[in-house]
């Protein structure tokens, strides 16, 4: 009887102190199957739920995004072996899957080689193919239970360190028989995508308990999570220290762990359950946040001004703002005349006063961007770029004069030449004549309509007006997003100038993707048709760099070249504004690139408020 009483008391206490937090998603995850999620059905909503399920050899640190060991025990050792480059990676021996199996080199080797096989032989696409690039990755080999060698055709930070070595690792014991079975079927990939993996062992801190379709997903904290109690310390001098007193794991990198600490985090999990409630509209999710039904709303687009203002007034709710890792831009079709003339592009850039547009027209809801590497990506961002941009810091009149001078320098003429006095356009230009004597009738600027993005639509109309003032016949055509995509990539390159945006990864190899001349083919991503041998050479070096400081130096040079050549005019981006109930949960930090949603709400670190 006494035992029963004690047991019941424990149950009662546990149920009283069971800490469940409720978070809101604005869409249901499409899939929780890793083959499908990292394949064709990748959505941010699935990422929020399963983003921490799978470990990877290396990961980004919180806040500062240092590249640090995760399942690896140390940074890789790189050496050339014949034609190939081998990355030797020591693995942690204190990592266990949720089914109790120890994580070993077999898991790593099997995952990498299987993904490679599925990409090459069966057409596995999506993020798997972006992480494991078959042009670079060759194979993975087991040296011993806790050491692997990963072979590449050439060393590359982009393809190795920030690619293959950051790919999710799956459990060999669980998946190997399933994959073998799937390969015997007529449609192996579909079989894998459809596989019900609700009993799959994971490495992360929370495990799926229930997915009630259309309503919620519930995850439970793993009491046996291998990294519980582990400490991550970021020092101001750049050093990083990771230690787990429970398992004895200790790693120090990027300098001596001395001096002032920038951040110190002790890994949990600190809550028992996380319930991701599915709300199908923003208003409902925000009302639920105000009402206290949920403590955080995941939303990759952030809150709109009205929503943020409403939430700022709500009791117990805290609104936070972070910079984002992306930019909105306009791209010139350099295959067409006169967009292929550098001075013409510089003249347009000179006309665009981003500060004025962002602060005055868009009411501070956006911030100006100049470089193809966003300012929030502090390590890779070249701070010199704004000064290299034509017209930077100039007044309204000075910008117009500069634009006219640039056009004249390139040989442009007007039927009626524009005249600027002070900050006034006293005579509007008309009849722009190109250096080849051809009159330029109209240049189309494709931009998304107000329904899709009112900010870009507004900016396009301002650019049209400013260009028209000095006689550049730009006509803003506000259209559907898909229509722009069709004109740029499907038709292909049937455009003069278009305006769109990119969300980016942390490592800025997108510069090579967007501007290398070998990517200028039909349907590829150098939509501008930019072709600069100097840029190509540096981009190749950048992709092949294995030293991060060398890569940074090259990345800075690439940004400077692009700031002068201007295949893109980078315009602006918006901060991501989020809100959470500070009276219900405590996040370990609030300032992080692209907001707390980008780090999935740090489930292993979040605590409940007292």
């Amino acid at each position: 009887m006494r035992k029963l009483f004690v047991f019941v008391s424990i149950l009662v206490v546990l149920s009283v102190f069971a800490q469940t937090i409720n978070w809101a998603l604005l869409q249901e995850p499409k899939t929780l199957n890793p083959w499908n999620h990292y394949g064709p059905s990748a959505t941010v909503w699935s990422s929020y739920v399963l983003g921490t399920w799978y470990g990877e050899l290396y990961a980004y640190s919180d806040v500062r995004f240092d590249w640090i060991p995760s399942l690896a025990a140390d940074l890789p050792k790189i050496e050339q072996e014949g034609d190939l480059w081998a990355y030797t990676v020591p693995l942690r021996n204190d990592v266990f899957w949720s089914d109790g199996t120890q994580f070993t080199a077999d898991d790593v080797v099997w995952t990498m080689n299987t993904v490679m096989k599925l990409i090459k032989e069966y057409g596995l696409g999506g993020n798997w193919a972006s992480m494991i690039d078959p042009d670079y990755f060759v194979r993975a080999e087991k040296i011993d239970d806790f050491t692997v060698k990963v072979y590449f055709t050439q060393p590359s930070l982009a393809k190795a360190n920030f690619g293959v070595l950051m790919a999710p690792i799956l459990s060999k014991k669980y998946w190997e028989p399933k994959v073998e079975e799937a390969l015997k079927t007529g449609a192996p990939l579909q079989t894998l995508y459809n596989y019900d993996n609700s009993d799959e062992p994971i490495i992360g801190p929370f495990k799926l308990v229930k997915w009630e379709k259309g309503a919620f997903v519930q995850q439970k904290a793993r009491p046996d999570y291998f990294d519980k109690g582990s400490t991550l310390i970021l020092y101001k001098n750049g050093a990083v220290e990771i230690s787990n007193p429970n398992t004895g794991f200790h790693w120090v990198g990027y300098g001596e762990p001395t001096g002032e600490k920038m951040l110190e985090l002790v890994t949990g999990p600190y809550v028992e359950d996380i319930i991701y409630r599915i709300y199908l509209n923003r208003a409902a999710a925000i009302t639920a946040l105000i009402n206290g039904d949920v403590s955080f709303v995941f939303n990759s687009l952030g809150l709109q001004k009205g929503e943020a203002d409403q939430l700022a007034k709500a009791s117990g709710v805290k609104v936070i703002s972070n910079t984002t890792n992306g930019f909105r831009y306009m791209c010139f079709n350099m295959r067409r005349y006169p967009m292929n003339i550098k001075e013409f592009r510089q003249a347009i850039a000179a006309l665009i006063d981003r500060e004025f547009l962002c602060s005055r027209v868009l009411g501070g809801q956006a911030f100006p961007q100049y470089s193809v590497v966003p300012v929030g990506n502090a390590f890779w961002y070249n701070p010199k770029v704004p000064e290299l941009t034509p017209g930077y810091g100039m007044s309204y009149g000075e910008r117009r004069k500069l634009a006219i001078d640039l056009l004249k320098k390139a040989g442009f003429k007007w039927v009626v030449e524009p005249k600027i006095e002070g900050n006034n356009v006293v005579r509007q230009g008309r009849g722009l004549i190109a250096p080849n004597g051809q009159r330029i009738e109209q240049i189309e600027l494709l931009a998304p309509g107000t329904g899709y993005d009112p900010m870009r639509a507004t900016m396009a109309l301002y650019i049209e007006r400013w260009a028209n003032e000095i006689g550049i016949p730009i006509k803003a055509n506000l259209v559907d997003f898909n229509y722009i995509v069709q004109r740029v990539w499907d038709e292909p390159f049937n455009f003069d100038i278009y305006m769109l945006g990119w969300s980016l990864g942390y490592y800025p190899d997108h510069m090579a993707d967007f501007f290398h001349s070998k990517r200028a083919g039909v349907g590829d991503f150098n939509a501008a048709g930019y072709n600069n041998p100097e840029f190509d050479k540096l981009a190749d070096e950048f992709l092949a760099a294995s030293d991060i400081n060398k890569a940074k130096e090259l990345g800075f040079k690439l940004q400077e070249i692009l700031a002068e050549d201007l295949p893109y005019i980078v315009l602006f981006d918006t901060p991501i504004v989020e809100a959470y109930r500070a009276d219900q949960i405590i996040f370990p930090y609030e300032q992080t690139l692209s907001g707390l949603q980008y780090v999935y709400g740090v489930p292993a670190l979040v605590k409940t408020a007292e």
Partner: protein, 383 residues
């Protein structure tokens, strides 16, 4: 009648094929395609992009894709959804249908019952306070912007009064330990409703054969009340009544909103038809015979005025399988309507066509049923 039915079924089949073709090419004419969003990943090599296109069938020209779709359609294969790849369209419909049907059939039923009752009373006391009030209120709600009405109801009943759940169709904190899925409970609730309907129809048939009004009433009321009580007892004994109640509780706000929004339609139809009927001689005769007012209204006038409303109701039932994009979105009730929106936003052609075809079939069948019902209810109509 059989000849008429055969002709109508043939018309429906032809219409369905025209409908599928029009829908297919309308969607095809939209700029861009589903794969564009995946092809906009610069990290994918051209070979991988081509592979992705092939997986979704975009390596073939549109007319070939159309022919493949029609061939599959003939074998009742609606294909595989792009956005839920590789889930079959029929699986998605089957998953969402019970939620949609339960919500929209309930609200349609409530709305028509309310409309019928208010309509007949308003017409009976024409230009009276009830007529003026119901017509004014009904028109106001009928012309209101539905999302606004939904937000207002959420705010009033969920936030201010806190008597109804804000959103969603279940409470996750209750359901996290549920032994069954919400889908199972939805299906069981629908089965309960079906059993009730069958019992009610049988009771109606039996009562029609009875001579006296008290006997008729006894059969109808006893069978209905018994079925309700037995159903409740079975639900309680099963141990799942809490979950069923949770769903019903979550359904109140969307049903209320939909009813407020749409009852005026049926009310005005009923009112107008009643106004015609009450001018008939047999109503005057019934009044002259000294029958009570409510007997003349309910037995003599309303029954004859019911015909357009019933056919209207049957056609509305056909539309219920399509759900409602706004209602489902505003109340986070992911059903067929929401699937439409998702399919349209992501240009998930197979899912969108599948949903339209599925809804179209039900609407066409509902029209056929309405035609037949006309003949059954009104002996003057013969095909």
């Amino acid at each position: 009648m059989l000849k008429f039915l055969g002709k109508r079924v043939l018309q429906i089949v032809v219409l369905l094929f025209i409908y599928v073709t029009v829908v297919y090419w309308l969607i095809e004419a939209m700029p861009g395609s589903f794969v564009d969003q995946y092809l906009l990943n610069p990290k994918l090599t051209p070979e991988i992009r081509e592979n992705l296109k092939r997986q979704f069938g975009f390596d073939k020209p549109a007319h070939i894709r159309y022919l493949i779709y029609m061939k599959n359609f003939l074998t009742l294969d609606l294909g595989i959804s792009f956005s839920y790849f590789p889930t079959r369209v029929t699986t998605i419909i089957a998953e969402r249908l019970p939620r949609t049907v339960f919500l929209f059939v309930t609200s349609t039923l409530v709305s028509y019952v309310l409309g019928y009752n208010l309509g007949k009373r308003a017409a009976w006391k024409r230009s009276g306070l009830l007529d003026k009030t119901t017509t004014f209120v009904g028109i106001v709600f009928w012309t209101i912007f539905l999302p606004l009405l939904a937000i207002f109801n959420i705010w009033l009943f969920g936030v201010i009064l806190k008597i109804l759940p804000l959103n969603q169709f279940i409470d996750p904190n209750l359901w996290k330990s549920a032994p069954l899925s919400a889908q199972t409970i939805f299906i069981r609730l629908l089965l309960t409703a079906l059993v009730f309907l069958i019992v009610f129809l049988i009771a109606l048939l039996i009562s029609n054969r009875l001579k006296t009004i008290p006997a008729k009433k006894t059969v109808l009321y006893t069978s209905s009340i018994t079925t309700i009580v037995v159903s409740i007892v079975i639900w309680i004994l099963s141990g799942y009544s809490t979950y069923a109640w949770d769903i019903i509780k979550h359904m109140v706000l969307p049903v209320l909103t939909l009813t407020l929004y749409s009852f005026a339609g049926s009310m005005l139809v009923m009112r107008d038809t009643m106004l015609d009927v009450i001018r008939e001689d047999y109503i005057t005769t019934a009044k002259a015979k000294g029958l009570p007012d409510n007997v003349v209204r309910d037995k003599h006038a309303a029954r004859n005025a019911l015909l357009p409303l019933v056919t209207n109701f049957v056609i509305s039932l056909g539309f219920t399988v399509g759900g409602g994009i706004i209602t489902e979105t505003m109340f986070s009730w992911p059903g067929i309507g929401r699937a439409y929106l998702e399919a349209l936003n992501t240009q998930d052609t197979p899912l969108l066509i599948g949903l339209l075809v599925f809804t179209g079939i039900f609407v066409l069948i509902a029209h056929l049923v309405a035609d037949v019902l006309y003949a059954v209810l009104d002996p003057r109509i013969r095909y």
